[in-house]
Each structure stands twice: as structure tokens, then as C-alpha cells.
């Protein structure tokens, strides 16, 4: 065993130039076999920057939210469609193919909150969008790209979970029914069966609002962070009942975002204490505390090749390379590679 621990790591490089706080990050590409992926960042000033990780410069800037904060960025697995959600109550669809950057569609968002939306791609031309709804505690489900409202998920009258704070649409391998995980203002996480429009299970994870979570559908386990001083790990059993497995105490309160790396080895949290914390996903053993930023970190994101990005209120984006993913995961079509790896793990 090593006598002394490794010194705390430094960022691999830092992206500067957003000129306002960074609120959303998303890695894009890399799966198309074009080498290193691009990084998208959404800023407080309403701009979306597209960064090349090769030249480490912004290759394009998208201005579509009227100077209002961009809170969420997502690309669809196929094609070059980008979704950006802004506090101007608009969700924009961008076409990024062949260097274009035009708004192709726009969806009105009815909630003034900070809740980030979620998509579930069910086919190349058929995908589902979950976003905060008009009522303060509602979640709206849209069928895209037709923008037809499928349903509105409204908690029962006596539940009073408060506003939804974060959403995740997913689908179990075994069943075609889409499911929605939603973190609420009262600190609870609920699992919705979208087609039946009812809450399957709900568990109180935090005494404070849930600020961000991520869910590992392979292991049926999720982790959430809130304004309080702890992370909660919860799991879903066969009866689709949520239960809290454990909580992990932190040094400082406030987690803005949680992401699990695609290979499901580690997870990263964005802390209000200016630090990114890295944990072993399965054991929740703390692995590293990345202190570089000088303001609240709003967002963290993992690339498929394992690169970690953190965007902070200090207008900088730090890129970290920790615990490299083993070689078999770096094959171009990552979806399959992932499946394989998980498969071998399941066998083991």
C-alpha cells in the first residue's frame, strides 16, 4: 500500500472566455468516431459555447436565449440536434450538422424554476421530452419532435413535494414503459410511471431540495445531492420501490450537480464550496477533491472517453483526466462497448 497518498491532481487544462458564469455543460460527439468530442457550455449571459477539446478554443457561440441563463444542454444520440433550455422560458432546438448553428425549433417552458429537462430517445425520429410544467409541482411530458403533450404528471394533492428540481427519463431494458425520476423541492425523489401517470414510489432523501441526481439504470441505483451537507444513494428494487441505501457526509453543504461516469466506475459532484468531489461509485469511497475554482460549481459532465469537465461561477471550465477508462471502452461505438462491459461485469 502506498505510504503517502498522491498529491491532489491539477486540471488537465482550463477553458476561459465564457465571460460569465458557466451553468450547463455537455459533451457532444466522440461517439461518431471523430476523435475527441466537443464540449458545449451554457452561460449565465445566455450564450452557448462550443469548445474544441483539441484546440481548446471556442469554435462557435450560439446566442438564442436573449441574454438569459442557459440551464441545460443536451444532444440527441443520433443526428446533430442540440437542445438548450434557458431562463427565457424557451427550449431551443439547434441543428449543428456540418457547422450549422441555426435554431430549428423552439418549445415554450412554462416553469420559472431551475429544473432541467430530460429526454428519452426511443428512435431516430421519435423521442420524449420531460420538462417542468405550468403548475408549480407539475412535470410535463412531450412527444417530440411533434411537440404533442403526452401528459402532465401532477403529484397527488396531499403529497406536496414542492417544485420538481431535476428530472430523468429512462426506460428499463426489460420493459418498454418509460419511467421518470424526479427530485423535488422537499428533498424527495419520486419514480413516475409515465404511461400510467402515477407515482410508483417516492422516498425522502434529503431535508433540503434535491439539486441534482444521476441514475445508473444498470445497477438500478442513483445518487442525489441537495443543499444539505450529504449525498444520498438510493436504489430501486424489483417492485420498483425506491429506498435510501446510505448517505455520505460531506465537508461543506451544497451540491449543484451529480454525474456518474459512463463506465459507472466513478461519480463527480459539483459543490457550492468550489470543489469537485470524486467518489468510487460502487463503494462511495471518496477518491479526490478537486479544488481549482474560486466560485460555486454549477455543473459537471463526463465525456465518453472519461474526461471530466466542471463549470463554475468563476467563468472558467476546468477539464480533468482522472482514473482513465480501460482501453476496451475507447472503441468508437461506445453504446455497444458499454453494453459489453456491463455484460462482463454482470457475468463476474
Amino acid at each position: 500500500m502506498a505510504a503517502s497518498p498522491l498529491p491532489p491532481p491539477d486540471p488537465q487544462f482550463v477553458l476561459r472566455g465564457t465571460q460569465s458564469a458557466v451553468h450547463a455543460l455537455h459533451f457532444f460527439g466522440g461517439a461518431q468516431g471523430q476523435g475527441r468530442p466537443l464540449l458545449l457550455s451554457g452561460s449565465l449571459s445566455g450564450l452557448v459555447h462550443i469548445w474544441s477539446l483539441q484546440t481548446r478554443r471556442a469554435v462557435a457561440t450560439l446566442d438564442g436565449h436573449g441574454g438569459k441563463c442557459v440551464t441545460w444542454l443536451q444532444t440527441l444520440p443520433q443526428g446533430h440536434l442540440l437542445l438548450s433550455q434557458g431562463r427565457d422560458l424557451k427550449l431551443r432546438l439547434w441543428d449543428l450538422a456540418e457547422g450549422r448553428n441555426a435554431i430549428v425549433d423552439s418549445v415554450p417552458v412554462e416553469s420559472m424554476g431551475f429544473c432541467r429537462s430530460s429526454v428519452l430517445a426511443r428512435g431516430p425520429e421519435r423521442w420524449m421530452l420531460a420538462m417542468p410544467g405550468g403548475g408549480s409541482d407539475e412535470v410535463q411530458i412531450l412527444e417530440m419532435p411533434s411537440k404533442t403533450s403526452v401528459c402532465t404528471l401532477k403529484p397527488e394533492a396531499d403529497a406536496k413535494p414542492g417544485m420538481p428540481m431535476c428530472l430523468e427519463l429512462w426506460q428499463a431494458d426489460s420493459s418498454p414503459r418509460p419511467l421518470l425520476l424526479a427530485g423535488y423541492e422537499d428533498g424527495s425523489v419520486a419514480l413516475w410511471d409515465v404511461s400510467e401517470r402515477k407515482v410508483c414510489s417516492r422516498v425522502a432523501c434529503h431535508p433540503e431540495p434535491v439539486m441534482g441526481f444521476d441514475f445508473d439504470s444498470q445497477k438500478a441505483r442513483g445518487v442525489s445531492g441537495s443543499a444539505e451537507k450529504a449525498l444520498a444513494v438510493w436504489s430501486l428494487d424489483e417492485q420498483q420501490a425506491l429506498q435510501v441505501c446510505r448517505t455520505h457526509e460531506l465537508t461543506n453543504p451544497g451540491i449543484a450537480d451529480v454525474k456518474i461516469r459512463p463506465d459507472r466506475k466513478i461519480l463527480a459532484t459539483a459543490g457550492w464550496d468550489h470543489r469537485v468531489r470524486v467518489f468510487h461509485w460502487w463503494t462511495m469511497k471518496p477518491l479526490a477533491v478537486l479544488s481549482f475554482h474560486s466560485a460555486t460549481i454549477h455543473s459537471v459532465a463526463f465525456a465518453t472517453d472519461g474526461l471530466l469537465a466542471a463549470g463554475s461561477g468563476d467563468q472558467r471550465i476546468s477539464i480533468w483526466s482522472l482514473y482513465p477508462i480501460r482501453s476496451d471502452a475507447s472503441t468508437p461505438s461506445l453504446g455497444h462497448a458499454e453494453g459489453r462491459e456491463v455484460g462482463t461485469q454482470a457475468l463476474a
Binding site: 498522491l6 491532489p8 491532481p9 461543506n252 469511497k285 471518496p286 477518491l287 477533491v289 479544488s291
Partner: protein, 796 residues
Amino acid sequence: MDPVQSAVALTVREALHTLSSSEDGGHLLSTLGALKRYLSGAENPALPGEQEEFARMHFSAVLRCLVGRLSPGWLELLPNGQLEDLWASFFLEGPADQAFLVLMESIEGAAGPSFRLMKMAQLLARFLSAGRMAAVMEGQCRQLTEPAFRLLQETLLIKVVGLPDHLGNRLQRENLEAFLPQNYFPLLGEEIMRVLQAVVDSLRGGWDCSVSFLSQVLGKACVHGRQKEILGVLVPRLTALTQGSCLWQRVCWRLVECVPDRATEALLTGLVEAASGPDVLSRLLGNLVLKSKKAQFVMTRKILFLQYRYSTPMLQSLLGYLAMDSQRRPLLRQALKELLETWGSPSAIRHAPLPQQRYISSALLICLAHLQDAELRDSQDELLASLMAGVKTRLDSSLPAVRRLGMIVAGVASARIHPDGPPLRFQYEEDELSRELLALAAPPPVADSPSEAEASPAAETPDRGSVDSGVPQAQPEGSGSDLDSDDELVPYDMSGDQELKSGKAPAYVRDCVEALTSSEDWERWEAALRALEGLIVRSPAAAREVSVELAKVLLHLEEKTSVVGFEGLRQRALVAVVVTDPAPVLTLAAQELSRPGRLPPQCGSPSPTSQPSSTQAPAWRAVVQERIRSKTRRFSQRSPGRGPDAGPNEFNLVAGYFFFPLIRHFDRPLVTFDLLGEDQLVLGRLVHTLGALMYLAVNTTVAVAMGKALLEFVWTLRFHGDAYVRRGLLSAVSSVLISVPAERLLADLPDELLEARPWLADVAEQDPDEDCRVLAVKALLLLEKLRDTLVPLSSP
């Protein structure tokens, strides 16, 4: 007359006549052959009675005659060196003591380098290498009763031990290897061993023997400072022989008992040094300490209290020896009592050099390790009383090393002496000294084989370490492998993951002042303290507006919550304020120091765990001065030998602001400090500060006035009892000599310098504190240098 006597006498007289006159080789040969019949072991020997008579009465005369005839021509009277062999055989085969005496006598009597002298020296070397010295000594062991031999014994003793000296004196550069002390004394050791063997053999055979001559030889050799050489041979052999043999042990005990009193100390210290452990010492010495007053004095007083050059293993041997026998244990208890008294005695603490204090502390801890709880309990009250008095005195000392020893020893001793009560516990950083001392306090290992005895103290620690770590080691390994069975994700260092507190930090200096004075919000208070230095440096103008107020607040700041690094934060903030706005803040600081009852109480009382906070003031002064110095522009880099650079000293503007208010009130007892009384630590800091200020005031106009004031100040305190204060005074004198220009020193301060000189010389010679002596020598050197610079000034 007895016919035998007269017959022998006649033969000898004729032979002597022939020897002294004849030049005929054949005749000489036959004469010598006839004489040789009287030597024991010769072919065709004479009657035993005749041999005895010859040995007793005539042997020396024959030898002297032989020596007298010795010359190159004489030896060549017969071919092939026949005559020389025969001649030499008389010395080597005859009674050894007489042969030895004649040899020595003839060597000493030789006028200068000559053929005869060299021949005799070579013969003596052969005599030694033939092992005849054992015969000399053995002869003395057998002669038990005859008082007439006293004188002879005395002479022999002097010659045996003094042989290297005599030979060295005589032969000068021609001296032979065998006579060099480093060769001779090991040989003497070997010979003593042979004699001892013979003594033991004859005791076994039922004959009486005396070892007193051997004891005298041994003692005298030790007195001559040859313990290492002679005991280096004897001790290992005796160690082996005494193991399991009572007879050898008794002979050995007798050997050390018979050593004359004046040699006891030399022998015992040599033995303690050479013995490999307490049990060896115990076998060699027996209960000597109980039988001999002198030995007791050496072992329990002299080695422990009056000297301190011995190594820790020696102390362990010695005290272990005292502990090994129930009859000797009272001595150990007594030693502990006295050690503890000395350890805590204010006078000893003040006057004993530090190495001695360390030595006494080691001895104290070793004693404690050897004594059992029951034995300690008997005199618990007494021991505890002197321990507590000692701890108090030590913690009051202004020398860190003395305080440290106090803490280390008191921690261990209180736990041993008073096991029921809570032990005294102190916070001190572990270092080599503390580890070494604490290791001594561990109970001594029970060694069952003597060869282990020496190695065991050293071997014990790693042994125990591995045994102890054996159990917990498995645990982290197990749990670690459990955790990382999935993959090997090695955590990074996460020690920097502290709680974040910057949220409430004020953004302006004024806000800080407000937060520090009136805030009840402790997080804000702490954040203000942390932010202060940065804010002051960033906006000096804003800081200047509130500088005095801020300095006052900081000086009186109390540590209300346990903020990590409170002292450092406050100090850095104060330094920043002083640098930003020196004059008013310095004046304020000096006033605050001398104003009664204003400083918080913790400033006055030295605590054992940390430096009192009042010492911060001088410390931050030093930092200020360092900064000012670094900002002083230097126009040229001169070679270091030529005195300080003559650049403008910016310190000029502010030097006096702190210095004069500080020096003014030292002799008035204030509510907070009684500088001339109990608060000597504060006085010490004050003196050091003044010295530092003086040093930094070089090339300022105010330096002369400062120097005058400082010398007067030093003069009144020069016999202060505290070493720390004296060090400060001495360095202050040096500062004055460095900082005040030479001409001005002579013009304005001649009397003070004249007075200082004898005082410095006195300190340099007699001060018990080593640092003081060194500092005084330095100051004297500066005075010398000053005179040297003045002489060329006045001469042209």
C-alpha cells in the same frame, strides 16, 4: 656460615671476576655455563638449595656485571653470537622480577643513545614477548607474607606501569613498537589474564594467592589513563570466564576490591564503559558499592552528579547494576531521590550546562524504569513533591530546552510516581531528544543471556513494533482489498478538504474593524480576521485611515473561539498595519506595552504549551524590520568584510518611535508586568527586541542616542540571573557596536565601553551558559575590531 651459601658465594665471586676481566671467549663461555647451572630449568642443574641461594643473593649482581661487560667487541669474542645468546638467556630464564629490575635500571641509567642501550631495549622487548611479565607479576602474587618485599613491590609497580614512559624518555625516536602504550598495555592486560589464570589454578589446587599486586598494577594503569587499552583486553575475557564460574567471579571481585582508593574512580569508570551491560558489571564487581565507600561515592555520586560525559548505555549499565541486587536497590532509590532533587533544583537549572541537565534527565528516567511501583510508592510523597517543584521551576525557565526537558521528564515521571492520579501531560513536538528519553523510560528488558544484554535495548523497540503492528496491519489490508476488489482506484490526497468559510468575509478594512469589535457572528469574526491582511495590503490608503484603531483592536483581540492559527493571523495582520502606517502604530504599540492593565492577561503569563502572546510583539517587530530592510535600496554590493552598506536606511524615520517608549518604563512594576521580578521572560523578549531594533538602526541619525540609552539599560541589568536575559543583553551590546559609527562610539560613549570590556571578558570566561559565553566573545571581538579601525584613524 652455611656451606651451601659459602660455596655459591665463592663460585659467583670467581665467575664475576672472570667475567669482568677475561677477554678469552672460551673461558667466558665455560664460566657462564657454570653460572647457568644455578638457573632453574638448566641442563645439569645445581642443587635446589644452591639455586635458591643464587637467586636470592647473587643473581642481580651477576646480571649487573653482564650488563657492564656488554659491548660490540665483547660479544664478538665468540663466533655466531654464542655469547650473546648465553648472555640473554640469563635475563630471560632467571628470576623474572630481578631480571626486569636490572633491565629497567640499566636502561634508565644509560647516559644516552648507545650500543648498550639499544641492546638492552631489544632484550627488554624479547623479555616482554616471551611472556616474562606474567612471571614478574605472578611472583608477586605468591609472596604473601614477607613485608620486606613491600619496597620491592612498590618499585616493581612503578616500573611495570611506567615502562612505556621510561622507555619513551630514554629511547626518544629510537623507541620500539612494543613499548608504545597502545601496544604495551594490551600486552599487560594479556599478562594479567595469564597471572589470573595461574592464580585461579593454584586456588583450585589449594594454595593461597594474593591478587593485590595485580590490583595495584591495574589501578595504576587506569590512573595513567590507560583504561581503554588494558580493560579492552581484560573485560571481554573476564566477562566470558566469570560466567558460570564462582571462583572466577570471586577472584574478579577481589581484584577490584584490592585496587587502592585513589585508583577506584579510574578503574570503575573504565569498567562501566567497557562492560557490555548491567549483568556483566554485576559479575565483575559483585557488591563492591556496598563494601567500599569510595566505590559507592564514585558510582552513586560522581558518575551521576559530578560528571556528565558518559554515554547513555553506560548510565544504563551503571543503574542496571544497582538494580540487579536487592542489597543494592536502596542505593538506586536514593539515587532517584537525589537525581530528582537535582533535576528540579532552581540553582542547578540555572547553573548547570544543558548537556548535564539532559544527562541527569536520562539517568532519572533510567532509574524510574528500573524501580518497581511498590518501591516508588514507599517514597511517593517525597518524590512527588520534588518532582512538582522541579516542574514548576523548569516551566518558568526562559530557555526552551530547559522547559522541554521539564515537560518530557515530568510526563513520564508523574505517571510512574503517581500512577493512580492523572499524569501530567504536555504538548510538545516530538523530536529525537524526546523519543530518546521516552525510550529510556520503557522498563528494561529481562535479558536471560548476557550476550543479549547489550543488544536488547536497541533490539527491543523494533521487536515490539513488529509485534504491535502485526495485528492492525492485517486489518487495513483486509478492508482495503475488500474495497478495491473491483478495481484499483487509488485515492488522491484529500487533506486540503477543509470547511469553506469565505462566504462572510468583509470586503473593506473598516468592515473588518467593525466585525472584529462588535460582531457576535463568529464566522464573520473569523472571516474578518482571515481577510484582514490581504485587505490591508490591497488598500493601504484605507488601512491608514483606521490604522491606529485597527492596531489597538488587534492588540487587544481575544481568541474567543478556537480559530486555527489565530496567533499567526493576528500577527500577520499587525505586521501589515505597521508596515502600512509605521509611526503612529509603533507609538501606540509601545504605549500599550507600558500602560498598566491594558493588555489581556494571557500576554503576561508564560504557558508551558505555547509562547506567551506578548512575545508576538517582538516577533512581529522583527518581521517589520526584515521587510523594511528588504525595501531599503542598496547602491552597491560591497564585500562582506567591510562593514554594513552605507545606503539610506528608511528605518531612520521610525526607529525611535518604538525604541524609546519601550525602553522608558522597564523598571516600574506595572499591573501586568513586573519586568525586574517574575516576568523575566518578557524582559528577555524586551531586551532581544531592543537589540534587534538597535541592529537595524544602522546608518540612522538616531543610532547614537539609541546606543547610549541601550548601553545604560544593559549596564543596569548585566548581572541578571536569567540566561535568556543575559543573552539578550550581550547581543544588544554587539548591536550597539555594529550600528553606532566607530568615531561616535569613542566620542560619546567611551566610559560605557570601558566598563563593558571587563564585564564581557568576565562573562566570556565564567558564564555557565554556553551561548552567553559565545555571545560575549563575539562582542569582545567587535570591540577589538573597533579598536583596530580607530588606530589607523588616529595615526596619520
